[in-house]
Symmetry: C2
Subunit: 675 residues, 2 copies
């Protein structure tokens, strides 16, 4: 077979693509006709309204809110995840498979194989950005261990199929075999797109072909309890240009919702097997499953021009955001089944808001943004990134929240930095969990974060997320443009976009579009001409502001988003937070921690005074006025009016939600009582 | 050995005691020195401030709120439970154990054996009240099947210990082996106290001795993940007078809380193994487990004169009632682990409030009432009985709620009357569950309900619960008294207590005490002298009102409790129901069902007007004024003021909570929004 750079963008990193000679495989052709096969990015649709940029084209700087986090991810989190997977014995499961020591020595849950794949995906994107040869070697070493565990027919799983284990595909509801493959395929996509075909691709190819054999039109007429294989197959189809994988993804997506799987104690809605994807009107059941499935359905819809399916997912997204989403962007109201609640069931104290669900919401919203260009998808991505994805890891990138509560009632104990946590939620971040999807998911998301900040269309560049970055790409019409984004957002609302390189023909205008977040009433955009020194400012209403200009190098576009802290009131149908307000500033939700109250006071004692507007402090906090009450004890908590006195108010400090739980055990709440 | 009637009360039913000759067992002496061995009642402490009455002494009439339910339990529920246990194959597990067909044919969960024991307990109490010979035959038949499954050393469990099963006591955290024995012992106690020693007693005796061997001071130093064996052993000790069983209960109670069991995902608090019983200050973890353990601790405390232990449980009860109990008396805020939440975590829509926890709260509160005589324990018993225990079964006694939510947001589907429900909660009652503790627990509670209405002390009779009944007993000083209670409570607040028989010596007064519920401000008590025709009325403040008189037959004491519907407001620390009120009338909580709103309106649309007091209707309902709002759709449910309009108010009907879900699928809420 022949591979050519195709639509490669010409940046140096991209040259690494296919630097390893691809082994030949007669039935296999990697298509070269679109960005899909080669662009260094996680999601490469065949054709969407907006086209994503690769992480070579949109390079994050290492300073600023996101740059700092991406750098810590590269220097600490990826190693941390590898260390813990080794320590927990999950990687050794592959070795044991090869040496015939399974199931005796197996450790970890039934989906632990997938953590290795998420880790490789993270490593691959990171290697794609910075090209560290040691990381490349680590990927190759881990790939070899995985490959040794694969069976001749492509089946690859350390938990099923051997004597003493359950048979292959005997527990589709809970077994996660196909889920694991989905992550393997995504890892292979990342590897091929950043380093070219290597052993991981061959492993994935055998696995994908095996899945198509086993679950194709003539195979097992079922699906996996945990959607994910659909995402993997769709992207693998884009990578390879092989329609067979897309067809298999289609089969999985269309089969689901028809009672394909066994009924379980949580009901079939748990794995979205209650209603066909294109008939559902809202997301339900296990949040990560629901979001992965919906994201894959968008992939299928855009690659097959299925407007009905796309509209169905858009409706589900709208209804879910309108009535089943926390103010942090978090999703999942139940601990029991890690699931969405019914409409307006959004308890703060039992909020699950799994980190992975926040990441999955970004994945879904990104696909919808590419498909439609609608800025509300960018708004939700921003909300999830700042308030869920940024909240999970600690500042050092070595401990994590699995769940992201909005109300911590008990301080809890200090986390043991050397112990795996059994708990899905805690008052403190933990280094690792029995179920450790979240740390690896955080790692792969940060490693590819640059891919989510900008897009192009035929004659324009769109900025969706604001971070220090250099963007050098081609518009759809082939013109090369580059801009430099400088900002201390979200501490400042000023985003400066300098035109670094403009198309050679200045007579044809091109457009620069900037997302104006829904909260940013009163925003302005200013165009400063480097040539003339003229500066023009105009209002930028929430949505998208687009400047179509004959830009020249040195021109400067400045978006000014008003950064005024605000009280947000909840829809009165949300029982859990009635009579409360939250404080937001820019894209971030703020919270009250007990460390900022007088000694030994609990956050639940605080009543906020909404007559006084919240105020910013110089150190990235906000103050509100309010009173610390000390309610009387009551023998029976109903029917009395005790504990309703309101002492004098004082000024109290709130911190960004993503920065909570960094001062030892304490209590915390996002929604502040108003009475 | 010799058995004598001892402290038997002389009523006809009691004569059945020990009518079956007791098989001899050299090491076994049944003590005859207290009521404990013989009284026909579930809880017979060696000595408490108040002494319980047997169900022969306090006989419920078949009319009225409780009489109707007890009659339906006898005529329908017990049969229903037997039918479903047979249908589900749970009883056949015992047969299969005897024929060597386990584990191949086993059905049901690891605790299914216990359902047979709860069923026998229910049958035994019911047989003790009405003496139906067919029921006696059923008990004997079922006992034989169980006995055939017992192993020579006393071990009895269909789920462990055979080839192909896990070894005995290899999974104390989840295996429920000791839990099952606890219910076996309680069943045997019920059988001996209502029909004398028979095969069931011999089975239980072998099992109890086996437990003492296996888990005694020199045995396995552990406890069962689900407390219950402690209750069974304590009562078995009372029945037999054998201190060995009490000592074993003590060992189990004292071992718990020291990290005896493995840590699990829910933490050791799940099975109360986090803090020693006597050091804990509040109930926590799995609610039924916590309550059974606390109840057994009271048994131990009163029988060993352990004031410290009793005080610890009283404190736990107070703190739990003050901050971890729903207005219905329901306990358990988590679906995930069927557990208490933290203080003030009492969400209406995710209320678990397992029926068994309501029953267990009655069991605990009853033991504390006997020990202390404090009326607040009677108040909580009443609240749980009217709002949890009465809510679970349908009017025909053949379908049940397992969980008792305070807010049903979605109507759900009609329940299949022929299918076992997988769900622990539903908008409709279900005939049976995969985990069917609740129906059997309801059956044994109703079958022994008479035991909970009255007590005696040295010179008085105390009425704690109000139902049509005839009470004929002896005071502690040996004087015989009898009274007849007539009431249509809770529809009426008038409770008429006629003295039917008074001690022969009228010169010595005796006392009649009546519980005045906490909500009954303004109650009065009237004494009418049959001899003189003189009537004297005086106020009866909440607590206990006691009349010490030289009562004569024909005297009438009337308690008048004001039955005025009232709004109840929640403690402001309960986030979940802030800005809401509930409506109560007498001991009952009322609720709004969508069937009482205009067509297609959802209960969440209703805003109550608290300026207008609620009013009673002639048919046992209440009306409030309020408005049905129709909030506008919002794309994002925070930060806007949409949906806050208040249309004109209208009169809307509320029904008793225990009667909800009898009109097909609908929505329901207890707490009504005030804005």
């Amino acid at each position: 077979m022949t591979t050519t750079p195709g639509a490669l963008t010409g940046t140096p990193t991209a040259l690494k693509l296919f630097s390893t000679p691809a082994p030949s495989k007669d039935t296999m052709t990697i298509t070269t006709s679109s960005r899909a096969a080669h662009a260094v990015l996680p999601v490469a649709p065949v054709a969407t309204l907006l086209s994503p940029l690769s992480i070579d084209e949109a390079r994050l700087e290492s300073a600023g809110f996101w740059g700092t986090r991406v750098a810590i991810n590269a220097s600490a989190t990826i190693d941390h995840c590898a260390f813990w997977q080794e320590k927990a014995g999950w990687l050794a499961n592959f070795d044991a498979a090869a040496t015939g020591d399974l199931p005796q020595t197996r450790t970890g849950r039934e989906f632990s194989d997938s953590e290795a794949y998420k880790l490789i995906e993270a490593m691959a994107w990171e290697h794609g950005v910075h090209g560290d040869p040691a990381l490349d070697a680590s990927i190759r070493a881990l790939t070899s261990r995985i490959g040794a565990a694969q069976e001749p027919d492509g089946y690859l799983n350390t938990n099923f199929g051997r004597p003493g284990q359950e048979p292959r595909y005997s527990d589709l509801e809970w077994g996660h075999e196909l889920y694991n493959y989905g992550h393997l395929l995504q890892a292979a996509v990342a590897r091929v797109r950043t380093a070219g075909r290597d052993e991981l691709f061959e492993i994935a190819l055998r696995a994908a072909d095996h899945v198509c054999e086993a679950f194709g039109a003539d195979g097992i007429q079922s699906v996996c309890g945990h959607p994910e294989i659909e995402l993997g197959l769709m992207e693998f189809a884009r990578l390879t240009g092989e329609p067979r994988y897309r067809e298999q993804a289609r089969l999985f997506i269309e089969r689901r919702g028809t009672g394909t799987l066994d009924d379980i104690v949580f009901g079939r809605s748990y794995f979205q097997d209650d209603i066909p994807v294109r008939e559902a009107t809202v997301l339900r059941g296990h949040s990560v499953r629901a979001l992965y499935l919906a994201a894959a359905a968008v992939d299928l819809a855009v690659d097959t021009d299925d407007a009905e399916l796309l509209a169905a997912i858009e409706l589900q997204w709208r209804n879910t955001v309108a009535s089943r989403t926390y103010i942090t962007g978090g999703m999942g109201s139940h601990h029991q089944d890690e699931a969405y609640g019914e409409d307006f069931v959004l308890p703060s104290d039992r909020a699950y808001c799994e980190t992975c669900a926040g990441i999955a919401a970004v994945m879904l919203s990104w696909r919808l943004l590419l498909a439609t260009g609608r800025p509300e998808y960018g708004d939700l991505i921003e909300r999830c990134l700042f308030n869920i994805v940024a909240t999970s890891p600690s500042d050092d990138g070595r401990s994590f929240f699995y769940a992201n509560t909005l109300h911590q009632r008990t301080p809890g104990a200090v986390t043991d930095a050397n112990a795996q946590s059994k708990r899905a939620s805690s008052s403190m971040r933990a280094p690792w969990f029995d179920v450790s999807c979240c740390p690896n998911n955080v790692a792969r998301t940060f490693a590819s974060l640059g891919a989510y900040i900008a897009t192009v269309d035929s004659a324009g560049l769109q900025l969706h997320q604001y971070a220090n970055a250099t963007i050098a790409t081609e518009l759809g019409d082939g013109r090369a443009v580059s801009v430099r984004v400088e900002t201390s957002y979200p501490r400042s609302g000023e985003i400066r976009v300098t035109i670094a390189n403009a198309p050679a023909d200045p007579s044809a205008p091109w457009s620069l579009s900037l997302r104006v977040p829904g909260w940013a009433e009163g925003a302005t955009v200013t165009l400063f001409s480097g040539a003339t020194g003229v500066e023009v400012t105009r209002p930028a209403t929430p949505g998208t502001v687009t400047l179509s200009e004959r830009f020249a190098a040195g021109d400067l576009v400045t978006l000014n988003l008003p950064m005024v802290p605000r009280f947000s009131t909840p829809d009165p149908r949300i029982d859990a937070v009635r009579g409360s307000v939250a404080v937001e500033l820019g894209p971030r939700v703020f919270c009250l921690e007990s460390q900022d109250l007088p000694a030994r006071a609990h956050v639940d004692q605080f009543i906020v005074d909404t007559e006084t507007e919240p105020a910013r402090t110089p150190d990235d906090a906000v103050t509100v006025r309010g009173a610390v009450t000390d309610p009387a004890r009551q023998a029976w908590p109903y029917g009395a009016d005790a504990g309703r006195s309101t002492p004098a108010t004082e000024s109290v400090r709130l911190v960004p939600y993503h920065s909570w739980a960094n001062r030892g055990p304490g209590t915390m709440r996002v929604w502040l009582r108003t009475s």
